[in-house]
């Protein structure tokens, strides 16, 4: 029987601009704080998984700042699911019984970064020469559709509208309005300013229907988590056991083949498959969740994930949103942290930071934005390519 695993300590730094700190400063800050939160030190940690997708720093470089103890390091990269992958990696090691404690860290320095894919275009060559897997004689971004993330995810949201109806520019903007409203209660968010629907819709258009405040915010930030085995947790103090958060499910999936999935990424089935596995493993259903942090990399993405995570009936995401359910005082609060649109999206940190948000509520430590009596929460990320990471977390009974 595999070990259960628990979050013993977890931390996220302030997200935003950190001009005086590099990736290692931020990663060290989060890692040391997570260790302190757990009541352990680097000497206790048996495995480290580290993600810094855009920055190129490594777990070994972090060790050289906070503790070179000789333990194995897994440097992981899984697009926007990198943080969830780091966490999943140490959970695997703990569940396998190889280590008692694991540390997962994700960090990114993205303040001021622009478009993160399709952000450069090579000059056309002097002669038309076929290259690559399409035999293309010139760059195809902008000539055969878009490769930029705002555009890809705009199409993912609009596709939902084509299938089920009910979507509009205003509907997607209202989703961003909700998340920006939620962010006003989160002191660690990059942006914590309430925005009116009008302000959101009149802001700079990036890729219709996504205006700038409907896109995830590039920022600096780090998050880290200490994972402990069930058997080890039993030997720890009552205070540690009381604050520990049970990992009821930890799931990673990739996108299965479907017609068209190599033309426009299908983030739906990969999420639905992950959600199904996660609910089954945790032995709960979506109706049992007290809060959800889902991957709103764009307002258009949040809509489809209501459906993919089965928070509503199939095809019912628009009605679900319009019912007020995903607002913090609704029946299924979604992204009470402000989501990626306001909290920010330091890529490799995101898949741990959303777990931190859930843990914060389950521990009853979320202050002004506490969801009262929260016992079970779900954290979801998507890495385009594609990967889905889902963690279901439960409050300790201790």
């Amino acid at each position: 029987m595999a070990e259960n695993a628990w979050i013993l300590g977890i931390n996220m730094t302030k997200f935003g601009k950190h001009p005086d700190k590099d990736a290692l400063d931020l990663a060290s800050e989060a890692a040391l704080a997570a260790l302190k939160d757990a009541g352990v030190t680097m000497k206790d940690i048996g495995v480290l998984a580290y993600g810094n997708l855009m920055g190129g720093s490594s777990g070994q470089m972090l060790q050289k700042q906070i503790g070179q103890t000789g333990i194995p390091v897994f440097n992981v990269a899984n697009a926007c699911a990198t943080g969830a992958t780091a966490l999943r990696t140490v959970i695997l090691a703990v569940k396998a019984g190889e280590v008692d404690f694991g540390l997962a860290v994700g960090v990114e320095k993205l303040s001021g970064a622009g478009l993160l894919a399709g952000g450069t275009r090579k000059e056309d060559e002097p002669t038309w020469t076929p290259h690559g897997r399409f035999g293309a004689v010139a760059a195809i971004d902008g000539r055969i559709g878009t490769e930029t993330m705002p555009g890809v995810f705009a199409q993912i949201g609009m596709e939902y509208g084509y299938k089920y109806g009910g979507t509009s520019f205003e509907l997607f903007a209202r989703i961003a309005e909700k998340n920006h409203a939620h962010s006003t209660l989160n002191p660690l968010a990059t942006y914590s300013k309430r925005m009116s629907l009008e302000e959101i819709m009149n802001d700079v258009m990036i890729a219709y229907p996504n205006t700038r405040p409907m896109c995830s915010a590039n920022c600096d930030g780090a998050a880290a988590a200490v994972v402990v085995s069930d058997s080890k947790l039993k030997t720890l103090s009552l205070e540690q056991r009381r604050r520990a958060v049970k990992i009821a499910a930890s799931v990673l999936t990739t996108d299965p083949w479907e017609e068209g999935c190599q033309v426009l990424p299908n983030v739906n089935t990969v999420t639905r498959n992950g959600a199904r596995q996660a609910y089954e493993t945790a032995g709960i259903g979506p109706e049992d969740l007290d809060l959800v942090e889902l991957h709103d990399c764009f307002a258009t993405a949040e809509l489809v994930h209501y459906d993919n995570l089965m928070l509503c009936e199939p095809g019912g995401a628009v009605d679900f949103f319009n019912s007020g359910a995903p607002w913090r005082d609704g029946r299924m609060p979604v992204n009470v942290s402000g989501g990626l649109e306001s909290k920010g999206h330091p890529i490799a940190a995101t898949g741990i930071a959303n777990v931190w948000e859930i843990c914060h509520h389950l521990r009853g430590e979320a202050g002004d934005r506490q969801i009262p009596g929260a016992k079970v929460g779900l954290a979801h990320v998507i890495g385009l390519g594609s990967t889905c990471g889902i963690h279901i977390l439960e409050k300790s009974a201790a």
Binding site: G135, V137, G145
Partner: protein, 133 residues
């Protein structure tokens, strides 16, 4: 005489320009890129099939911010061509949500991308609205 070359190898030029796909002989899955094997069934034999030149817009975005050198705004879309989704730009249409709509009928069109130093003209493709009859 100036020769022509398609922007991508799955665009066939000539009197009736059209797109082609590699279809898995085992399961029928279709691909536009070079294949090592089928992502659905791992089959390794493929045949070339013609893709219908008319289809329906199943999703789109109007890109206003792109990499330097890419003219904006432009419309990126997925067009369902007889069951095969095709990624494309929509052309010969105003790039705004009043003129571009989900479910609109479109057809393949080609255009010049310019002539290189050897006198070869590259031909690109897009989809344009089918005039309502």
């Amino acid at each position: 005489m100036a020769s022509q070359i398609p922007l991508v190898d799955y665009l066939v030029l000539g009197d009736e320009p059209h797109l082609i796909a590699h279809e898995c002989e085992q399961c029928g899955a279709r691909y536009f890129d070079h294949r090592n094997a089928c992502a659905n069934c791992s089959g390794t034999s493929f045949k070339t099939v013609d893709i219908p030149t008319e289809g329906t817009v199943t999703t789109f975005t109007i890109v206003s911010l792109a990499a330097p050198g890419i003219p904006v705004p432009f419309v990126s879309a997925i067009v369902d061509c007889g069951g095969t989704p095709v990624r494309t730009n929509l052309v010969n249409v105003e790039p705004d949500p009043e003129h571009v709509t989900l479910g609109m009928k479109v057809r393949l069109t080609t255009f010049s991308l310019g002539v290189d130093s050897a006198g070869v003209e590259a031909i690109g493709f897009g989809f344009e609205p089918v005039p309502s009859s």
